[in-house]
Amino acid sequence: MNTFKIGGVHPKDNKLYSAHQPIIECGLPKQAIIPLAQHIGAPAKPVVQKGDKVKVGQLIAEAGGFVSANVHSGVSGTVTKIDVTTDAWGMKMPAVFIDVEGDEWMEDINRTSDVLRECAMEPKEIIDKIAKAGIVGLGGACFPTHVKLCPPPGQKAEVLIVNGVECEPYLTCDHQLMLEHGEEIMIGIQITMRALGINRAVIGIEKNKPDAIARMTELAHKALGIEVKPLKLKYPQGGEKQLIDACIGRQVASGALPISVGAVVDNVATIFAIYEAVQKNKPLISRVMTVTGKSVKKPGNYLVRFGTPLAQVIEMAGGIPEDTGKIIGGGPMMGRAMNSVDMPAHKRTSGLLFLPEDESRRGEVANCIRCGKCVTACPMGLEPYLLSRMSELKMYDEMEQHNVMDCIDCGCCMFTCPSHRPLLDYIRSGKGIVGGNIRARQAAAKAAAEAKK
């Protein structure tokens, strides 16, 4: 069984709470707040106005740039305002507020549960449809999928890698999606392969999901060129570069994109969204999110329309447990503790995790004892202790020389540190500044080049 070669850690997977819970549809909210920046890149530009009537699946904002994605309404009703709202971390984001009236869908969306197998579209048509449907990577980064499916000139995709790893502890939404919608995912993979003009796909699934491996393998036997790769349990196997290494044994160079080794990586949830968009004309208006935790009354996987307040989703799961010390948006490794739950669900919200008080505190920080555990754990082969110290001392140029930009924020270093040092906090803060410096330098170089002309 394969896994990636460098680093990695083994956190307890804790998936038992919500694993095998059937996907339940979460009810419609009274008011939906649909953020316009649900993806990496420029926020979308609203195309509706106050007072407009919208239907489910109607385009309400179009992509605001090359790396940007369309936003569709997840509900039907009247637009009451376009204003800023705060996310769970108190940051401002522009959003469209809709008062929900009924549940009226756009006519061209196929709402039946039939599995549509045939797809005779041209690659370009498929990619257009994906772009129109506003599909972004649902694994967490929310990178617009249509951009990923258009390799830059001179580079060619050879293999599609489908991420069914779900290496984050606690989260089970992708697992459940594979179990319930395996067939659709298979068709989605074939459509994506068609769009990329390739005939090989590898589905990576960690071995703690034996039923998903069995189901997908069974389905893969019927399809050409699709292979299921059971993988050893190791975090962060769901990271793009780690998954490529684990699945096809190729290493992506520092600073390079997966396409440089001929790979395109997509999450199973993204693939499912592609299926729905291409075959059923349904834009990305909902996603499955896991609500879980030791003390949650009804942990499970909920299908949530974008715009639904998280409070409503929590209500469905039995409310906030009394012993909650921290609510984390996403998984425990890469997710962030939330400041409030007054936030709508959107493309990025993959899960809600309620940690009890006694588990939610960081350990007492002690001095670095130079044990090197973080270096062993880093899946990118970096030296976290060094980078974090450099960040503390504001040595940003040195950080850049030590490849801080390769850091994937996985948190393995901090997880493994016996002194509980806040390594990732410092590295991430330094990385932000180094990134800013690099961009400033590039902008200056560009300006200089233009001045020369």
Partner: protein, 323 residues
């Protein structure tokens, strides 16, 4: 005996050769340096704080010596007197600089801005501000981890545990600007010290609309514009729901101060302020309500009164408890 003589000879001759060699090399590679650089450096404070924008005092001295005029070159620590001395050495007129001081533009005390969450990460404002809005709900105010205190090379900043805010010791502040750069929320501003160390400051940067700002902090500027209306110098502008006082225009008449319904606008350096308002509150509010603005009703006056009475030491800077 021979051994000693041989050793002496060998070492002596080697030393002589090396000395001659070094003499010629020194002649050949001699760096011509303006002797005035040393003189200028001697005048500068020698703190090497970097507040002038150069790598240290030596670098500023070099820059001054090379420059054709002293415009734009200023040692913020030494201020005008030092620059005059530098000017005297270099035979140039020193620009008239006005002494400045760091001002903390946030008055979100623990009492006014209760904690809504507890931050458990690294105690650093830069990291905290990248993570989320902060322990209070205010996205613009002080985070209270003391990055500015750490940045200050002169010990002029310290955290006040009662308010949870940094305080500037104006006698020690050299206006080097390091804290300004260190603050991720850009709260700290270098303002003119003003006559008698007195100046008017809007101690808030909250750009939210009035009710939203007020919800997170009782001391927030709500952008009502009452202060701008009364300012005889038109020094106050309200943009993005927050007032700003142009310190070049302000003459410190303090007309604006009683207008502020939330107490975001402060006169700094007036020690008698509290006692005066406490002694004759009725008179002042009445005068204001007849002279300045009809809108200024008694309810607001009462609020001002409440704000201006000295506050009790608030014990609630304790960590947020979610129980």
């Amino acid at each position: 005996m021979d051994l000693i003589i041989i050793s002496l000879l060998v070492l002596g001759v080697t030393g002589l050769v090396a000395a001659i060699l070094l003499f010629f090399i020194a002649q050949k590679f001699k760096v011509e340096e303006d002797p005035r650089i040393d003189e200028v450096q001697a005048v500068l404070p020698g703190a090497n704080c970097g507040g002038c924008g150069f790598a240290g005092c030596r670098a500023l001295a070099e820059a001054c010596t090379k420059a054709s005029s002293l415009d734009g070159l200023l040692c913020p620590v030494g201020g005008a007197p030092v620059m005059e001395k530098v000017g005297a050495i270099l035979g140039m007129a020193a620009p008239a600089g006005e002494p400045k001081v760091a001002v903390i533009r946030c008055n979100g005390t623990c009492e006014a801005r209760p904690k809504t969450s507890e931050y458990n990460g690294t105690r650093s404002c830069a990291i905290m501000s990248a993570m989320y809005v902060g322990e209070s709900g205010c996205a613009y105010g002080c985070l209270g981890c003391g990055d500015c205190v750490e940045a200050c090379a002169f010990g002029a900043l310290k955290m006040n545990p009662e308010t949870g805010l940094p305080e500037v010791d104006e006698n020690l502040c050299t206006s080097c600007g390091k804290c300004v750069k260190a603050c991720p929320r850009h709260i700290i501003e270098l303002r003119k010290k003003g006559e008698n160390n007195q100046r008017m400051v809007v101690k808030c940067l909250n750009q939210d609309k009035g009710p939203a700002a007020k919800k997170v902090c009782a001391n927030a500027c709500i952008g009502c514009g009452l202060c701008a209306k009364v300012c005889p110098q038109e020094a106050i502008t309200v943009a993005n729901n927050v007032a700003y006082i142009d310190f070049d225009k302000c003459v410190v008449c303090r007309e604006c101060e009683p207008q502020c319904p939330t107490g975001a606008l402060w006169g700094m350096g007036f020690p008698e302020r509290l006692s005066k308002t406490a002694a004759a509150p009725a008179q002042e509010t009445e005068a204001v309500s007849t002279d300045k603005d009809e809108k200024f009703d008694s309810a607001i006056a009462a609020k001002i009164q409440a704000i201006k009475t000295p506050r009790a030491v608030f014990p609630a800077c304790l960590p947020y408890n979610n129980k």
